[in-house]
């Protein structure tokens, strides 16, 4: 069975999504268990594959039994395997936490909700695993469509945000498709490895450069890279909790993964290296993304919106790191891709818990939360530390590599932007914590109640089914941080191409 892990990774959730849909019509109570089974199998497969890849090298899988350039081929090296594992785990843990929120808001639509949820994960996992440029497009559309629907389900202006996301997302996906079309015209192939070989003699051609730009710009739209980020803050802050904590951490990260995959495995660093002007421009765009993300986040008075803008900034980190053009920067980008998935997940899940309890995430709603929801806030604090980049949480280490990459490349703007964004993140989160820590005492006397214990505010913690996953995510941040050494050594270094110094 182990040789079929790549197929299981994607098809198990697909099959279970269909079963969830059927169960939604017949036995709605079975939806969540089936979805859990589906993602559980996918997680097992992803983890097993990671182990396999680490012990015996990359694995390939011929779907339909056809050989690579003709059939669709899955190729999993360390990079895919680890991203797939992260995606699967985050999706699974988030699903486990979603029960209460879905029941509260969409009880009569559990079936379709979980169906789309699992389908979204299917698409994401497929994009990570696939080695075929067109197959990637189809999977991209699956996860995008589910994303539009899940986001559009939210209240208030969510449908409009979602429709805007749909427009931009469609433009992005179409650009990607067009780019693949350009590549197909000049090479005649769709398989990534095959493309890499066929493109080598064509590096000077304008068509290839255009194809590359189209693909990259298309992906930027999907990952909300500044200045194409406008859809993200509205969409992610309006989405229902479980959807936000699925899409915000994973969607952008998987798009970054695809970009890195394109840069490393299809166009190769030799080609990217020739695009010096583009490289410079992207470097500064990344700086702008980081700074703009930080400044916009500062202007927000709502936790979810603030987090959404932080995501915009984080995308700048990864794109910038990947385009620095050196090994350390790329390592940082990949590492941050993994770390950011988990830390964004942690903070969005915490925001979901808060929303679940107090039905709002505006700053003024958060007063006294440290008393009311100590564990949730503790997890949020850990997530915040990771985003700020305080050791031993994982955010520090990826930032470490990114800054080193910036130094190595002599890109001082990038280094300064990273530090600036860290500082702004300190302000952002401690402003928030200050509100959550201080407000309720303002009306009372300075020394609080004169009994030492017996808290003034009743503790109203999020339900255990949300709290446990949240704790797992928070602990994961520290564990991931401490695992940086092996992660870089065994997972990231082997996939760095030799052309990258």
């Amino acid at each position: 069975m182990t040789q079929h892990f790549p197929a299981l990774l994607v098809t198990a959730p697909l099959l279970c999504a269909l079963l969830v849909s059927i169960a939604g019509w017949l036995r709605p109570r079975l939806c969540l268990p089936i979805a859990l089974v589906g993602l559980g199998v996918a997680t097992l497969a992803a983890t097993g594959m990671l182990a396999q890849v680490l012990t015996s090298g990359p694995i390939g899988y011929r779907l339909g039994g056809w050989d690579p350039p003709w059939g669709i081929y899955y190729f999993l090296d360390q990079l895919n395997a680890v991203v797939a594992a992260v995606v699967a785990w985050v999706a699974l843990v988030n699903l486990a936490a979603s029960h209460r929120a879905v029941q509260a808001d969409y009880e009569d639509k559990q079936g379709p909700f979980y169906t789309l949820y699992v389908l979204a994960v299917t698409g994401l996992l497929g994009m990570v695993a696939t080695g075929d440029a067109f197959n990637l497009y189809v999977l991209l559309e699956i996860s995008s469509l589910t994303g539009y629907a899940l986001i559009g389900l939210g209240p208030n202006r969510a449908p409009l945000s979602s429709l805007n996301y749909l427009f931009l997302g469609t433009i992005g996906a179409s650009f990607y498709l067009l780019g693949v079309g350009y590549l197909y015209i000049v090479t005649g192939s769709l398989n990534m490895a095959d493309l890499a070989e066929l493109l080598k003699p064509l590096y000077g051609s304008l068509a290839v450069t255009t194809a590359f730009s189209l693909i990259v710009v298309g992906l930027w739209m999907k990952m909300a890279f500044f200045p194409l980020h406008a859809w993200l803050p509205n969409a992610y802050s309006q989405a229902p909790g479980p959807a936000a904590s699925l899409l915000a951490p994973l969607m952008t990260k998987v798009m970054v993964y695809v970009m890195i995959r394109m840069m490393l495995s299809v166009f190769t660093v030799d080609f990217v290296g020739t695009q010096a002007v583009l490289q410079q421009a992207v470097g500064w765009l990344a700086v702008a993304a980081i700074v703009a993300g930080a400044l916009f986040a500062l202007a927000q008075r709502d936790l979810k919106r603030m987090l959404a803008y932080i995501v915009v900034g984080e995308v700048g980190y990864m794109v910038g790191g990947a385009w620095l053009g050196n090994r350390i920067g790329m390592t940082g980008a990949v590492l941050h891709l993994i770390n950011d998935a988990v830390m964004t997940f942690c903070v969005f899940l915490a925001a979901g818990c808060i929303f679940q309890k107090i039905r709002g995430t505006a700053f003024e709603d958060l007063q006294g939360l440290f008393k009311k929801m100590p564990w949730t806030m503790a997890a949020l604090a850990v997530g915040a530390l990771a985003i700020i980049g305080v050791p031993p949480t994982c955010g520090f280490f990826s930032k470490w590599y990114l800054i080193r990459g910036g130094l190595e490349a002599g890109h001082w703007g990038f280094v300064c932007a990273l530090l600036f964004s860290s500082l702004v993140n300190v302000v952002l989160f401690f402003r928030l914590f200050e509100i959550a820590f201080f407000e309720p005492m303002a009306e009372g006397n300075g020394h609080g109640d004169h009994h030492g214990h017996a808290p003034a505010v009743a503790i109203a913690e999020a339900p255990l089914s949300m709290l446990l996953p949240l704790m797992a995510a928070a602990l994961g941040l520290v564990a991931l941080g401490l695992a940086t050494g092996p992660l870089v050594k065994y997972v990231i270094t082997p996939v760095m191409p030799t052309g990258l110094w």
């Binding site: 079963l19 059927i22 169906t115 629907a149 015209i185 450069t209």
Partner: protein, 276 residues
């Protein structure tokens, strides 16, 4: 805004056009696209899958995995429309309007009747009801079976002629939509209930993925139809042909049901009681 976007778009278009300079000439048989991967499909399809329609063979076999997700995309859209639009709260305003069939007198009921008036005497009609055109109603009623038959033909004959699961499925779905258009939504719903469309769209994709999983269970790679040969007592090449047929059936089912599902939800704003 408009001017800026116009300038942007013109600029972009110029860039794209410039890039076409490096393309092979339009229709050039020696272009890379025509000589690298595709020759194998043209030359080997017949002997490997015994399907003369190369597009069908590539669609459902060589790149069958894509097509599975393509079906899943349709399914996703159906579920998405349902999730976004479907609502069960009753429509505000006049509850229900009935028409006395014999006299044409229209009755408005303020409260939901405990029992639906008998269909023969009273027929329920839409708020904005206009008398249906007899010719249209009856011509469509006559046409629909033929449309459906054609749809089935398109699915079944996809191996040999243009067509296949998608086209056939859409045609089948369109026949139901035509019914809804020419009669009314409730009639169409009577033929194909909501739960039926929902289940059929899932089952359709499930057939596709299930065939793939079956191959997996037989110890072969996912969607490698050759593995099904022993089950159906045919040689591998025919197994491929039959496998393609099965998945096309699944696609047809899923697409038909999904198209109807999307239409129903769009046309009735998710209430499924009355619509276009």
């Amino acid at each position: 805004m408009k001017l800026i976007s116009l300038a942007l778009v013109v600029l972009l278009g110029g860039l794209f056009m410039a890039a076409t300079a490096d393309f092979p000439d339009w229709g050039d048989p020696a272009s890379p696209a025509s000589v690298h991967v595709s020759p194998r499909y043209i030359e080997k399809t017949m002997e490997e899958t015994s399907v003369p329609n190369i597009v069908t063979a590539v669609l459902a076999d060589y790149r069958g995995y894509d097509t599975m997700f393509e079906t899943a995309v349709v399914f996703t859209a159906g579920v998405a429309c349902f999730l976004l639009l479907r609502r069960r709260d009753p429509r505000p305003g006049p509850e229900r309007i009935y028409r006395h069939q014999a006299t044409g007198v229209i009755v408005e009921m303020r409260h939901k009747p405990a029992k639906e008036p008998a269909g023969e005497v009273f027929a329920r009609i839409d708020d904005d009801w206009v008398p249906h055109d007899l010719i249209i109603m009856n011509v469509c009623r006559l046409l629909i079976p033929f449309i459906q038959l054609f749809g089935l033909y398109v699915i079944a004959h996809g191996h040999h002629s243009p067509g296949g699961g998608f086209q056939g499925g859409v045609i089948l779905g369109a026949s139901i939509i035509l019914l809804a258009l020419s009669w009314d939504l409730r009639t169409a719903m009577g033929r194909l209930s909501e739960a039926a469309t929902g289940l059929m769209s899932a089952v359709g994709v499930f057939i596709y993925a299930g065939v793939g999983a079956m191959c997996l269970a037989m110890g072969s790679n996912f969607l490698d139809y050759e593995a099904l040969g022993p089950l159906m007592f045919v040689d591998p090449v025919h197994a491929r042909s039959l496998g393609i047929f099965f998945v096309e059936l699944g696609v047809g089912l899923a697409v038909m049901a999904t198209m109807v599902l999307i239409y129903k939800n769009l046309a009735s704003e998710g209430r499924l009681d009355q619509g276009l």
